[in-house]
Amino acid sequence: MNERLLNWLSPVLTFAVFLGLWHWVAAAGMVPAYLIPAPAAVGRAIFTVYREGTIWPHLFATGTEMLLGFAVGSAVAMVAAAIVAEFRAVERCVYPYIVALQSMPKVALAPLLIVWFGFGLASKIVLVALICFFPVFVNVLTGLRATRPDLIDLYRAFGSSRWRIFWDVRLPSAAGAVFAGLQVALVMALLGAVVGEFVAAQEGLGSLIQASSLNFEVPVMFACILTLAAMGAIANTIVRFVQRRVVFWEGAGGRGGTVVKGEG
């Protein structure tokens, strides 16, 4: 399989070239080590923080903020989207504001949330939840609205209740879009947790990055950044995996494109 070999070899080679260049730049001494540490130094830092376990509490703190905020924000968003989709009156009252707030950078609220909810977990969860709310809300709403009208007619023709139509038709129809929203939200959750920690925290990878910056520990910053990248990738993979299981009919038959709306 020449093709398959190439698919494996190419990225590995790219990585090797990248590492080589990096090493060369660092070793040549053109740039001070506190600006660009050698790859070996970064490797050692990663090894150290994991072997000695010093990074775990931070990873755990960031993970907790991310997951709790994600859970709260997504749950609220789903319920809100369902209510807005089902009740025209509610939609009229709140939808314009949700649209207006959607493109606002929610991280700007971080300092205010710290003032309101304290320096602890609560403020970060609120921030993350706020950030997660919008992509989930928009996608769930789009998904619910994109339900094929003929499927709804099918149920309506038998006098089905709105409630049953919601559970039997609208919700499964929207499932693909819901997951698309969750995917975006999870990545945004990690972002929110990091920003929250930038603004005020003593634990968490975001705060460790800031402390490392203050203390000239650029290799540790790299370790934190790579850890965050891994967390994001893993979270994403898990959502995609669950999605494939739950929304098994999408992709399989190629039926029903999923609308994904991005978010700030």
């Binding site: 003929d150 499927l151 023709a157 499932a175 009919w249 399989a252 038959g253 039926r255």
Partner: protein, 267 residues
Amino acid sequence: MRRDGAQPPPQLSIRGLGVVYRGRKGDVRALGGVDLTIREGEFVAVLGPSGCGKSTLLRIVSGLIAPSEGEVMLDGVPVRGPQPSVGIVFQQPTLLPWKTVIDNVLVPIRAQGKPTGPMRDRALELLRLAGLEAFSESYPHELSGGMQQRVGIVRGLIHDPKLLLMDEPFSALDAMTRERMAGELQAIWMETRKAVLFITHSIQEAVMLADRIVVLSDRPGRVVEVLEVDLPRPRLADVVASPRFAEITAHLRAFFQVDGPLRGARR
């Protein structure tokens, strides 16, 4: 045509049916005074140009929308809302992709909020009739287009409706599959003998299947012709070669003729 004995009483009777859609860009008159009756066990096809209100007619009969004028009586009772005693087959298969074939067939039961358990045997029986018994636990995306449409037909029959409404059920299929499906529908119909309101764009399909063909005019749709099809049943593939078939199709084609081979056909 079933002319054996006395005519059964009308199952569906439509009188003076008119519909106006109110839209932002003004109102659209979709149907302009349609009269139509379907007797018990009768297969009626509706032919009409695109946009003349055929689907609208069907939606009114099923109780999904209310007419602006006129009246629809089903079994002597005016239609005012959802009609569980009617079965519907849509243009697209309209299957729930997250339900198995048998659960899809049972959707009308579920939609009425009744327990589906007691109906499973009937569903399997109907699937067998449609040659789909082996696929009852498959998901729609594992089926071909023709098979999916057959599931849609079986679903229309599951709750033993008095009247089956079909809105261009084969239009999404390719020409050959379409011909086969018409044959299969005829076989199922001859077995079950439901009253059927069948909407189509295909003259050949209408002649092949119907006891009676109703031709609607351009929008707003009005009945411009009602034609009894007296070809014997079962009508097999060779019926299209019969002179009577050719005669009937030629007569119908005249309604859709345009003033030259090239011009008129704006759609």
